[in-house]
Structures are given as C-alpha cells and as structure tokens.
Symmetry: C2
Subunit: 161 residues, 2 copies
C-alpha cells in the first residue's frame, strides 16, 4: 500500500473529533459536525483518513468483564533472564498471542514486562502462569497483583486542546 508523503499532522478539528469518538464512536457524523463546527462529510473524511493512517487503531465495544464471568483482573510484572532482541521479540509475540493477556507493555526499569490479565477464576490464572511463565525458561521472576477494584479502565487519551 502506498503511504502518503503527508506528515499526517493533526489539526484541532481532528483532535476534537478524536475526543468524541474515543468516548463514543457511534456518534453520528452530523452530530460530531455540529460539535466541532464542520460538515458531516468533512467529519467522515477526517475519520476515514485517521483510520487509514492508524491514528484510530480500532473501533471496539467495551464489555463489563464481571458480567460475562470474567471477573478477575490481574497485574503482572515480570523480569526476563536474557534481553537479546530475539528473545524479547519472542516474548512479545507470545504474550500478545494469549487472549487472557489484555495488555502487554515492554518497560524500562526493574522489571521488563507489565501485563494486564483477565481470567474467570484463579485456577485459570494458575494454569496460565504455568504455561506462560514457568514454561518459559527466559522468565526470571514475576510478581502478581490482584485487582480488587477496577477504579478506572479505559484507553482514552487526554488530548491537547
């Protein structure tokens, strides 16, 4: 696919649009248009462009995990033994491929990875640790925190005005 040569810089209209759709992407274009003082077509074009260029990564429904029996959220910090590029990439791919792993970040500091995991029961988490951590001989150590309260959960970003 051809990548445009434009720097895909966002103007204040784009930011205003993002601010709306990151909270509710079912908002009709003409309503967004009123809000940002633009026509519905313009809004549509901008959104499409931002989807194509990857600024908007996806459009998803947010599900309440507790209501589908997936009530346990866990935080895992883990250290690896060897940090060669190949092993790190392998770890990234492995973690990313596991559905229970909702989020995975590669970080600097005392640990190497931070994961957010959601499972139905502790037994499932136990099984997961066995497969993912004990079964991986590049994992030095990991530490788990159990979420008692998901105080704030979202991917919304605070946008510059």
């Amino acid at each position: 696919m051809a990548r445009t040569s434009t720097s895909s810089a966002l103007d204040s209209f784009d930011l205003a649009i993002l601010d709306i759709v990151q909270r509710n992407n079912a908002t009709p274009y003409h309503v967004i248009g009123e809000s940002v003082s633009l026509s519905a077509s313009a809004v549509q074009r901008r959104i499409r462009r931002m989807e194509e260029t990857g600024i908007i990564q996806s459009n998803v429904a947010v599900i309440d995990p507790a209501r589908v029996g997936q009530s346990i959220t866990l935080f895992v910090e883990l250290e690896v033994i060897s940090e060669t590029a190949e092993l790190i990439d392998a770890a990234k791919r492995e973690f990313a491929s596991v559905p229970e792993v909702q989020q995975c970040y590669y970080v600097t500091g005392e640990v190497d990875f931070v994961l957010v995991v959601v499972v139905p029961t502790m037994k499932d988490y136990e099984d997961l640790t066995r497969r993912l951590f004990f079964g991986n001989n590049n994992v030095k150590r990991f530490r788990t925190f159990v979420a008692m309260d998901r105080v704030k959960v979202g991917l919304a970003v605070s946008l510059p005005k």
Copy 2:
C-alpha cells in the same frame, strides 16, 4: 420502561456476538448474523439489550497515543500510608479524575494502586507526580516504569465458549 425479570443471562449467541463486537463494533449486523447463524434483526436486538443492561459498557475508537502527541506511557505502582476506607476512596476518586490516568486499579499485595498514565512529555509526568503523589500526604512511596513498547493494548475479554 419495564425491566424484565430475567437475570439477563447470556447464551452462546450473545457470547459469540460479544466476541465479534469487542474486536470491531463497526461490523454490520448481517455479517455478524452470518457468523453466528442468526438474522440481522436478532443480532440487533441482542446487542441493544446488552447495551441497555450494561454488559456492553460503551463503544469507543481506540487511538494510538503516540500519534496524538501523548507519546509516553508509564506504569506507576504506589503504596499508601493509611488504608482506611475514607482515604482509599478519596485516592480512588482523585486518580480517576485525572485525565492523564488512563487506568487505575486498586490491588492486593505489596502495593496498593497500579496506574497506567499517558503523557506528552516527561516534564508533564514530573508535574503530575508533584501534584498527585508528592502533594498527597497519604502516599508512602511510588515506583515508575516507562513503557518502551505497547506490545498489546486492548480491553477485550476472553469469553467462555
């Protein structure tokens, strides 16, 4: 509006639908219908019901923070001094109210809170720590990890079959 007395239990159709919309909620109903062997009308009704009952919490666009100038993602673990209910609730409310705090979990274990923070620059983070942590005399200690790679980011839940 009359609330049904049903416990709003999800059947396998609902779960199959959720599995699709939590990845892409722009999928046309008739396409979902083909996938789960249901008509578009049935799909539409089920989704509406799940939205009304809160199983689907929201419909959002996922934005790449790096592309909107919020290029730094950070993890913060923090311990509080006093864990009285009032102080914990106050902390929850404070963290949740900050736009830069994307996620906040109250957890068991060696720390009390885990935060995911997204900011434009380290200077902004510095300011945030000053306001939020140093300015809060119930914060005992906090530890920060800087994300070098957002390997996987999502809120999708692994659904039971």
